[in-house]
């Protein structure tokens, strides 16, 4: 009976255990790297902790970075439910920022809450259309969504740069080309008692709602069928194209919202500073979280902390602040490699599962 109970919990143990083990392995490799460049791994890890989570200030710094990471993580995790690997979050974030900034200026004069809602909505729309296009290309034109989303991402970034430095440039922004500011009254403020803006709450709510929808509603069930076997989904009467495009667009909307929040809560206008690599780091977040929208939240905070600690490594140890990117890169490779392990750690199983093809291979063409 004990083994039976173990079986029930095994998938959970596996989905938590594998990423944690992978992260530990990544830290070990990183420690070797640190030792090779002549620093003490212990000191580096201590400073990473200090810089990320060692003080109230460090926590705020980490949470500020976690806010967009939650959303860009969702940009990967939501389409993944429908069987897609989307890596174009950065471009969707760029277009979300652009659309948000345009909406913010266009709506100025309305009550601030209305403007803020407009900015977020415009950002979601911008990012959603962009990644939705990837989903459309995949379903109706057979284009690989990973490649198309990456290429669309470059176009999105180029569009942001073009409009910010060209047609939409605020003449007053001299050394840092930006769109016209949305105005201080329209900025999204901080959470009560914290130096962290409301974007963190919006991101966490987005993740929570997504998780509930996937876990407890027919939406999630339909999406899993579409992602698992499109032919069976067709047989079950689901419009596969609709779901594929919809899931991609929802992912894009999350990344676009991240861009809009960067504009409305941090930059005050769209400019190149919103492109801080959150879109790419979101891929790592989603993979460590094993595409689980709820797990995206803590993982984003963890990675936000590692990002935040880059500065302290630079100041105290004179290491380049890209050091944390090395850690992220190593973690990414190890996580991707560990994906192949899932479903194979069934050493405790009570009975080995028979793995047989449904129909003998002869069947196919006889």
């Amino acid at each position: 009976m004990l083994t039976k109970r173990l079986d029930r919990w095994l998938p959970l143990m596996e989905s938590v255990g594998i990423p944690i083990a992978a992260l530990l392995l990544a830290m070990l490799i990183f420690a070797i790297f640190v030792a090779i460049i002549g620093q003490s791994p212990a000191t580096v890890f201590y400073l990473l902790y200090q810089g990320g989570f060692g003080s109230a200030f460090a926590w705020q710094n980490s949470l500020l970075r976690a806010a967009p990471l939650i959303l860009t993580g969702l940009a990967v995790a939501i389409p993944a439910q429908a069987g897609m690997v989307i890596i174009g979050g950065e471009g969707a974030l760029a277009l979300g920022a652009l659309a948000g900034a345009v909406a913010g200026v266009a709506l100025s004069g309305l009550p601030p809450h209305g403007v803020q809602a407009g900015i977020l909505f415009a950002g979601m729309l911008g990012g959603g259309v962009w990644i939705g296009l990837s989903g459309w290309l995949r379903h109706y034109r057979g284009v690989n969504e990973t490649i198309s989303s990456l290429l669309l991402s470059y176009i999105g970034i180029a569009l942001l740069n073009h409009f910010v430095e060209g047609p939409l440039k605020d003449p007053a922004s001299l050394n840092k080309p930006s769109t016209r500011p949305i105005g201080d009254v329209n900025m999204i403020g901080n959470l009560p008692g914290m130096e962290v803006h409301y974007g963190l709450l919006f991101g966490a709510l987005f993740a929570l709602v997504t998780w509930i929808a996937l876990r407890f509603t027919t939406i999630g069930f339909s999406l899993r069928i579409v992602g698992g076997n499109p032919r069976a989904a067709q047989m079950a009467g689901l419009r596969v194209g609709w779901w594929v495009v919809g899931a991609a667009a929802m992912g894009g909307a999350a990344a676009g919202m991240a861009g809009a929040i960067e504009v409305a809560a941090v930059q005050g206008a769209a400019n190149a500073s919103v492109l801080a690599g959150y879109g790419y780091a979101g891929i790592l977040v989603a993979f460590i979280a094993r595409q689980n929208p709820l797990a995206v939240i803590p993982v984003a905070i963890l990675l936000g902390g590692i990002n935040a600690a880059g500065g302290i490594l630079q100041r105290r140890l004179d290491m380049p602040d890209a050091t944390v990117l090395v850690l992220q890169g190593i973690a990414f490779v190890v996580i991707i490699a560990s994906e192949t392990l899932s479903g194979r750690l069934r050493v405790w199983r009570s009975t080995p599962a028979p793995v047989k093809p449904a129909i003998p291979a002869t069947g196919a063409s006889v």
């Binding site: 079986d7 029930r8 027919t218 899993r224 069928i225 047989m235 009467g237 028979p354 003998p360 006889v366």
Partner: protein, 522 residues
């Protein structure tokens, strides 16, 4: 890739004899005590319905499978063929239905790489000289410097055949080599092979569904049925009619389920009505041409036909896996397009073939898969919220009622055996009242007990007034279950008959197509 000793002199066509070959997959006998003889230089056809064991037989010959029992003799010497390498050494080569050329490489490059075990540095001058010398021996020229991807289908298939000759094969096995070719291309490719066989360069074993090709090219034919030898003869001495009869079998088994005991079909309006339905295949060619069909409540309509005549496309259109290009599909008198709401409203269910591919999500649990039809309906869901307890309870009931052998309802369905996947689908599709059931080859690959169980469940559904459309390539199954039988050939309905009065020979003749009919009336 198999290394080939090119220096070894070719010794022309070989003589192949197979004695008592058997091969089992689990409980299913795919091949049972089959013997045949192909004299050197002869063109031998292997006929049979889907699942008759043809592919298993040739896979044993080329070393993909090892037979459980039986002997293979090459030139009267007993041989072992445990791997494709040994087959290759013996000079046995195979041409598949689908092309194996590298599209971006030229024909010459494709021929050279086929040799396998190439040196690190190729001496192209030497290779070209060798190719040129080889081409001299052929009756026609090949565009050696064209990329293979730019060739027409017929040319590609010719290159595949030439490749086998270049590898100095002595027995060529062809697995439905003309299924992607037009009539002219098929004639060209088969004509070439026939000529080579006549010159004693090759012996040929061809798997085909096309009687036309058998009559025009083969010297002799062996027919398999359900894994067993079902007949043999010289093509010159057989009519297409007789071959068709060997293939579909005699009407011995048909009285297994006494028809008289079944409830009569009640009068009523058609439940499924298909009018002028057309659809295109994967290659953009029409596969369904103006299909008209009706299925009435309490009736099983059987659709017979040789594989590849549009039955698969018909099923795909009906269960929403293929777009129709014209015509009407109506259920309960209303236009029907297979959307989820319509499925639930009209109570349309289906048992497609290859359930793991068409009707299940392999990496989801048994419980999830069992809920595929009703996860969005009460009691499993209310206003969009899934009741997991109800969903699991349903799964437990189904697993018990249909005796599905599984490692718990949380096991992924792809870990179940074929028979149990099929049971799970049966449980899901037949546990609730069904108005219309679309069924395709429901017992394919199942063992005897599972077959009997599936059939009795279909008959039970019929007794409850379900309208059933049953596509099967097994004529015995159709005769046993159906009330009416229609025959599909080349994408059209060519014949309809009341199953109680069906003459198996007549069915076979219509299945064989217009060619056979023309011959029969001549």
């Amino acid at each position: 890739m198999k290394p080939i000793e090119l220096l070894q002199p070719a010794s022309g066509a070989l003589d192949l004899e197979i004695l008592g070959l058997s091969k089992h997959f689990g409980d299913v006998a795919a091949l049972d005590d089959v013997s045949l003889h192909i004299p050197a230089g002869s063109f031998h056809a292997l006929l049979g319905e889907n699942g008759a064991g043809k592919s298993t037989l040739v896979k044993c010959l080329v070393g993909y499978y090892t037979a459980d029992k039986g002997t293979v003799l090459v030139d009267q010497r007993e041989v072992e063929i445990p791997t494709p390498r040994e087959a290759s050494k013996l000079g046995i080569g195979m041409v598949y239905q689908h092309f194996t050329l590298v599209p971006s490489m030229t024909v010459a490059e494709n021929l050279v790489i086929a040799r396998g075990a190439l040196p690190a540095l190729l001496n192209w001058r030497e290779e070209r000289a060798r190719l040129a010398a080889f081409m001299e021996t052929l009756p026609f020229k090949l565009p050696l410097d064209k990329p293979a991807g730019g060739l027409a289908a017929g040319e590609k298939q010719k290159v595949e055949i030439i490749k086998q000759l270049y590898l100095q094969r002595r027995l060529l096995i062809l697995d439905e080599p003309t299924s992607v070719l037009t009539l002219d291309e098929a004639d060209e490719a088969l004509g070439l092979i026939k000529q080579l066989a006549r010159n004693q360069q090759l012996s040929v074993l061809i798997i085909t569904h096309k009687f036309r090709e058998v009559s025009a090219y083969a010297d002799a034919v062996t027919v398999l049925r359900r894994g067993r030898y079902a007949g043999h003869g010289k093509v010159a001495e057989l009519t297409v009619d007789q071959m068709a009869e060997m293939m579909v079998g005699s009407a011995v088994a048909r009285d297994a389920a006494p028809r008289a005991n079944r409830p009569a079909i009640p009068e009523g309006a058609a439940r499924l009505r298909i009018q002028q339905l057309t659809a295109l295949g994967d290659h953009g060619l029409p596969v369904l041409k103006n299909i008209d069909l009706s299925v009435y409540p309490g009736e099983i309509l059987g659709i017979a036909g040789v594989s590849g005549n549009g039955q698969k496309a018909l099923i795909e259109v009906l269960i929403g896996q293929r777009e129709k290009s014209g015509g009407k599909v109506q259920v309960h008198g209303k236009d029907y397009s297979g959307r989820r709401a319509e499925l639930a409203l009209c109570k349309v269910n289906s048992l497609p073939e290859e359930p793991l591919r068409n009707a299940c999500v392999g990496n989801l649990s048994v419980a999830d898969n069992l809920a595929l039809r009703n996860y969005d309906q009460p009691p499993l869901a209310r206003s969009g919220w899934i009741n997991w307890r109800a969903l699991r309870a349903q799964a437990k009931t189904y697993v018990e009622n249909f005796r599905i052998k599984t490692d718990g309802i949380d096991a992924k369905i792809q870990t179940l055996s074929g028979g149990n996947v099929q049971r799970a689908v049966l449980a899901r599709e037949l546990s609730h009242p069904v108005d219309l059931l679309i069924v395709a080859n429901p017992v394919f690959g199942l063992d005897f007990n599972a077959v009997a169980e599936t059939h009795s469940r279909l008959l039970a559904a019929r007794a409850q007034g379900t309208a059933i459309l049953l596509v099967s390539e097994d004529l015995d199954e159709l005769l046993e279950l159906s009330d009416r039988i229609v025959v599909m050939s080349e994408g059209e309905i060519v014949f309809e008959v009341d199953a109680a009065h069906a003459d198996i020979r007549e069915l076979g003749r219509h299945m064989a197509g217009s060619h056979a009919l023309a011959e029969a009336t001549a």
